[in-house]
């Protein structure tokens, strides 16, 4: 099940977590919150799940 979890600690430090997302949907889903609460993103290291959707699509195209 997909969801977004925001955790705000006692100093205001905020964590935005996309749970259960695959492919680039995680970024799209959390973008409004990360931009509002954390700010403009810097560099990011993509997890395997990030590419999962695209990879599956690519496989389809090459078949």
């Amino acid at each position: 099940m997909r969801k977004i979890v925001i955790t705000i600690d006692n100093d205001g430090e905020t964590t935005v977590e996309a749970v259960g997302h695959k492919g680039g949907t995680c970024v799209k889903a959390t973008q409004p919150l990360t931009q509002a609460l954390i700010g403009t993103p810097t560099t990011s290291v993509k997890k395997p799940e990030f590419y999962q959707g695209d990879h599956q699509q690519q496989q389809k195209n090459t078949n």
Partner: protein, 305 residues
């Protein structure tokens, strides 16, 4: 001699993918651009004020056995209205006003004490000023035994240390630029200020400045001088006092910052729900036993893949 320390409540995010010249900030803040053009803009970021944030910024996590995509952490102010509402709700002695200067030791005495490294954002501005003068800051720093990051904006999240600063100041160019920044920029670059209402607090209380991020438009850094609890400001109800942290990871303003973040989160969620964003169907908010606030947002379809 008291020590003066300017800190930021948030570790701003920096564009790391490509070098972005801090001398040419982009954004909507005209006065910021003007300051940059003159010498350097100002933003306060205290190097060790929130040490753990320096390793933060958006990053992706792996969680074994659990499908998740990513996680990002940090703090910034983007919703001034939410901050104003928060301040009104829980800081009865204070007010948020549109104001350019925010009171610190530096504004009272014309310079920083210098017992802490320059806050990260001011380090960026210092570099911007020197680059504006045509100084090859990387080469000049290297000559003093200090290696600056290739992207100077990285100083925002990992500022140089006091020891490195002392090395840099052996070069007169750095020292002169620092003195100028300290006297002309620090405390004079806010867009909004949180301060005592008339008749409240000490007459010499410091103030919290909302300083525009030098690059990211619409983002603000919360800056203050936490010496003596900001001369009493941080003792005002609803703000949150300065707390020394391990290895200099000090924090302050936790109550205000936390309440703002919760309000800003809820306002963002409500806005996305109203806009019809399918990822924002409903949400629930709970306060955990340790005081943290957790908000879970469920998509419109219940979150089923």
């Amino acid at each position: 001699m008291s020590k003066t320390l300017l800190v930021q409540l948030r570790q701003p995010h920096v564009m790391l993918e490509h070098e972005q010249d801090p001398v040419q900030p982009v954004g909507k803040h005209g006065e910021r651009s003007s300051l940059v053009a003159n010498v350097a803009t100002k933003n306060s970021a205290k190097r060790n004020s929130r040490g753990r944030q320096f390793t933060g910024g958006p990053f992706f996590h792996f969680r074994k056995g659990k499908t998740m995509s990513h996680l990002e952490s940090g703090f910034c102010v983007t919703d001034i209205e939410a901050l104003a509402l928060t301040q009104k709700e829980q800081c009865p002695e204070l007010q948020l006003v549109r104001q350019k200067t925010y009171r610190t030791w530096a504004t009272d005495h014309g310079k920083l004490v210098g017992d802490y490294p320059l806050p990260g954002v001011y380090q960026v501005k210092l570099m911007a000023a020197l680059k504006k003068q045509g100084v090859d800051v990387h080469a000049a720093a290297k000559a003093q035994g200090v290696t600056l990051p290739a992207n100077l904006l990285d100083l925002l999240k990992k500022p140089w240390t006091l020891a490195e600063q002392k090395k840099l100041f052996q070069d007169d160019k750095f020292k002169k630029a620092y003195d100028k920044l300290s006297s002309e920029v620090v405390g004079n670059d806010a867009e909004f200020v949180i301060k005592y209402k008339e008749g409240k607090g000490r007459s010499d209380a410091y103030e919290i400045g909302l300083v525009p991020h030098p690059v990211n438009k619409g983002e603000y850094l919360m800056m203050t001088d936490f010496y003596a609890q900001g001369n009493g400001l941080l003792k005002s109800p609803g703000v949150g006092q300065h707390k020394p942290g391990a290895q200099g990871s000090d924090s302050w303003g936790g109550e205000l910052k936390k309440a703002y973040a919760v309000k800003a989160a809820e306002r963002t969620i409500q806005k996305e729900i109203k806009a019809g964003n399918s990822e924002f169907g409903s949400y629930k908010k709970v306060t955990l036993p340790d005081g943290r606030v957790k908000i879970e947002v469920t998509p419109k379809n219940g979150g089923m893949q």
